[in-house]
């Protein structure tokens, strides 16, 4: 059993500053994960060479892989840092920020483009109000199970990081957004407004930019069937285009 856990962490003070690498060692304890190690480094921010440094900056919140905050690149693979268990990782453990989002500092990036995309595709059910209007529509339990698979998307950004089509010069919204459009289109009320969402995914940065690399579904921590959503939306948009063409 190892006595210490070794880390190589990519540090960058701000978006303009040069990046650098710092190495740390953390005493081994059972059941550690990347976040609990970062917390140890925070308590004693001294590099392996004995140099005092500032505690690394990272994003996290729930620590049980349900909030989506702590995505980073761990040993070359994008994932949630909280569920990256030390016992399963080769050392030194290399931590880098996601590269497809504007860097803020160290391991923290700005994912606001994902929330903007949710607004663009109108990812919501347009209810009439919060006043009493009785129960919602009955739902087939199988449809509920299918919807739930998509509803678990944490907006974590792993699917964007892994996608070759997403980069600083591309307007591609990323795979997660198609899962959300599919989710709202399959809902009895949401489906009434499917056309608005289909228009949005047929626009700039939409489904036509997907090159079918299928990395998204492979890296999704919640195993959301994103490629199925993309295929389904391909069919929905085709049908919609034809209908629009003939009814114009």
């Amino acid at each position: 059993m190892p006595q210490t856990i070794d880390f190589r962490i990519r540090r960058q003070d701000n978006p303009q500053a040069p990046a650098r690498w710092e190495e740390f060692s953390v005493p081994y304890q059972p059941n550690m994960n990347v976040i609990s190690c970062l917390m140890e480094i925070q308590r004693s921010p001294v590099t392996r060479e004995g140099k005092r440094t500032s505690p690394p900056v990272w994003d996290c919140n729930c620590l049980e892989e349900v909030c989506g905050a702590c995505s980073m690149v761990v040993n070359g693979r994008v994932r949630q840092a909280c569920s990256a268990l030390i016992d399963h990782l080769a050392q030194p453990i290399v931590l880098e920020p996601m590269s497809k989002f504007p860097l803020i500092r160290d391991l923290m990036v700005d994912r606001s483009r994902m929330f903007d995309a949710l607004q663009r595709v109108r990812a919501w059910i347009p209810i009439d109000g919060t006043h009493a209007l009785g129960p919602g529509p009955k739902v087939d339990p199988h449809v509920q199970q299918a919807a739930y698979a998509f509803a678990r998307c944490m907006t974590c950004g792993c699917c964007l990081e892994a996608c070759p089509q997403v980069n600083a010069r591309s307007p591609f919204m990323g795979a997660f957004v198609f899962g959300q459009v599919d989710l709202f289109n399959m809902h009895p009320t949401g489906g009434m407004h499917a056309a608005e969402r289909l228009e949005a995914v047929m626009g700039i940065g939409g489904i036509a930019d997907c090159a079918n690399a299928q990395n998204c579904a492979a890296v999704c921590p919640k195993e959301i069937p994103l490629t199925e959503a993309i295929a389904d939306l391909g069919r929905q948009t085709t049908r919609y285009m034809l209908r629009r063409f003939f009814t114009r």
């Binding site: 550690m32 308590r43 803020i104």
Partner: protein
């Protein structure tokens, strides 16, 4: 008067529901949150949300739900608000259903409900075992819709520092810090809502998210807001111990048939089922946690002699488990590495929920029904400052029933939003008419405090002080409490306050600095830790989550009272108010 301005701080369920209610009334809202609102701690709620819809034909009703909520809280909750909440619950579930929450369904396509702690009815609607996440997403989507319409402006990655109080101590806005640029700014508002959640991070490790420090509540407490029933901290019976956090294993595991046991004489001993034949593994949380402590610490029968008991699902078909509990099974598998469909889970109680919080007012009619739209609802003792969600002290009394927390966030928001609108409309003078010097003075005060933190060059680490605070609080101010240890704990907290002054900040960068806001929050945690500890020290009885072996009985004569803590430079001044028991007469709490 100009269009009134509203600020909501906190983007969890209570904050978002409050926001939606204000938007529905046609007013814009500035919404502040330290994290993108979609990542708020509400995502961690697992098991479900209570509503007596009686879909299973068991004869359940909101009246029974109300009675069980009050009894579960050991009669410390003010009854009208709890009654209002239970009666509104079915409507709230229907609303969420209309918003598209993918609730589990019965074969007929109706909403499915399951059992939960402290009841014998199937009253809990659920989405797998990630109900909180799904409810939060539904509100996040509705708020995004208002954002698209221009009614909501989000300030994400902003830290609430303080309320702006005018010469009459009326709240006129807030001061907050942008956690990227580190800019500190004042924002005027006619009504402000704090929906900033619980304070479990005071205990170091808990089931709460990292943002649940209680820093905002403590900041306004230090500005004169009353903090009530602080000593009532819920310890959840089943969490997975971890080096960074205690991960919750939802009560729904037991609701779906999970059994708690330890080996005794080579055989499983189902100690909850044996002692509580009627409720079995679904006794309320305070009772289950005490029994587990007793088995591990007094009888020394924990698994392998450790602070561990088994939570066993392995006798239930895997398909049922996946459909109803998938989310938590995944957590156990990912973080522990064992498959709970095959082997019993190893769990122990962990700090989970703050029943106490900011004192808030309410108005009810002669029948005990809350008056929706009254500006008194959810208003703190500081005029213009409101609170909703876990940060307020209402609804749950001395112990919260499982699946009532999600419900109270919605109901709280549904009362708080309209109350803020009525209050703002009734103001003689709006925040816009308040002199800019009032805002600048508070901004300046906060700027100086932050600058002082940036210059700290002592020898202590804020993270180490925090860890040690968590250890002393967990050892002494959780399931079993002794006056001697509570006094020692308060002494330790005061020693930590001295150490706080000798912190070395290590990082004084003026960009995305996390050490400075943490250090500020740490001071606020220390202040609240004293409120919790001294409230517990003074209350010489046992009630709900507050248990003292030296005073094992509930003492209604002396202690059927709300604890109210007011900040003074020497520490919290405690006073006591009667509880509103106008609807149900307190009785012995037996399960």
């Amino acid at each position: 008067m100009a269009q009134p301005r509203f600020i909501v701080v906190g983007g969890g369920l209570a904050g978002l529901m409050t926001t939606i209610k204000i938007c529905e009334a046609g007013h814009p809202v500035d919404l502040f949150s330290v994290v993108p609102v979609k990542r708020s701690h509400s995502v961690c709620a697992q098991g479900g949300i209570n509503a007596s819809v009686n879909i299973k034909g068991e004869g359940d009703s909101p009246q029974i739900h109300f009675y069980e909520t009050i009894k579960g809280g050991d009669f410390l909750a003010n009854q009208p608000l709890a009654k209002g909440m239970c009666e509104a619950a079915p409507g709230i579930i229907f609303l969420l259903d209309r918003m598209g929450v993918p609730f589990n369904r019965t074969p007929e396509g109706n909403l499915d409900f399951r059992g939960f702690g402290g009841t014998l009815f199937s009253r809990t609607a659920f989405v797998g075992a990630t109900t909180g996440q799904q409810l939060l997403y539904a509100l996040d989507e509705q708020v995004r819709r208002y954002e698209a319409e221009g009614l909501v402006e989000k300030y994400e990655f902003w830290d609430f520092l303080s309320a702006v109080l005018d010469g009459e101590a009326v709240c006129r806005g807030i001061v907050a810090q942008d956690l990227r640029t580190m800019e500190i700014k004042a924002f005027p508002a006619d009504a402000v809502c704090l929906a900033t959640g619980g304070c479990g991070i005071i205990y170091g490790k808990s089931t709460m998210s990292m943002v649940c420090t209680g820093t905002a509540a403590s900041a306004v407490y230090q500005q004169g807001a009353i903090y009530a029933n602080g000593e009532f901290i819920q310890v959840h019976p089943t969490a997975i111990p971890g080096p960074d956090k205690l991960r919750l294993m939802s009560e729904s595991a037991r609701a779906e048939g999970g059994r708690v046991w330890v080996p005794r004489d080579g055989k499983p001993w189902y100690f909850l089922e044996e002692k509580y034949p009627k409720y079995g593994n679904l006794v309320p949380r305070d009772i289950a946690s005490r029994e587990i402590f007793h088995v591990c610490r007094v009888l020394k029968l924990g698994v392998d002699g450790k602070d561990v008991v088994y939570l066993d699902l392995s006798h239930i078909p895997a398909e049922t488990l996946n459909r109803k509990l998938g989310g938590i099974l995944e957590i156990y598998e990912k973080f522990v590495g064992d498959d709970p469909r095959k082997v019993p889970m190893r769990v122990f109680p962990g700090v989970h929920y703050s029943m106490g919080g900011l004192w808030i007012d309410f108005q009810a009619d002669a029948q005990g029904n809350p008056t929706v739209g009254s500006p008194r609802n959810h208003q703190t003792n500081i005029p213009g400052l409101f609170a909703a969600g876990e940060v307020d002290y209402e609804y749950h009394g001395a112990n919260r029933l499982g699946a009532n927390s999600l419900l109270s966030t919605f109901y709280g928001g549904m009362l708080c939003g309209p109350a803020m609108v009525s209050y703002a409309k009734g103001l003689d003078r709006s925040a816009a008419a308040v002199a800019t010097s009032v805002f600048e003075a508070e901004r300046q005060r906060q700027q100086e405090l932050t600058d002082r933190i940036c210059r700290m060059d002592g020898k202590e680490s804020p993270y180490v002080i925090h860890k040690e605070l968590g250890e002393v609080m967990t050892d002494n101010v959780t399931v079993v409490r002794y006056n001697e240890n509570l006094q020692t704990t308060d002494n330790a907290i005061r020693a930590h306050q001295e150490r706080w002054r000798r912190i070395n900040i290590e990082d004084a960068a003026r960009w995305a600095n996390q050490a400075v806001p943490f250090t500020r929050a740490l001071w606020n945690m220390l202040e609240l830790a004293r409120v919790i500890t001294l409230g517990a020290l003074r209350r010489d009885e046992s009630r709900g989550a507050h248990y003292k072996p030296d005073f094992p009985e509930r003492n209604d004569q002396q202690w059927l009272k709300t604890t109210k803590a007011t900040w003074t430079p020497e520490g919290p001044a405690l006073s006591y108010d009667p509880v509103d028991i106008s609807l149900l007469t307190p009785e012995a709490r037996k399960y």
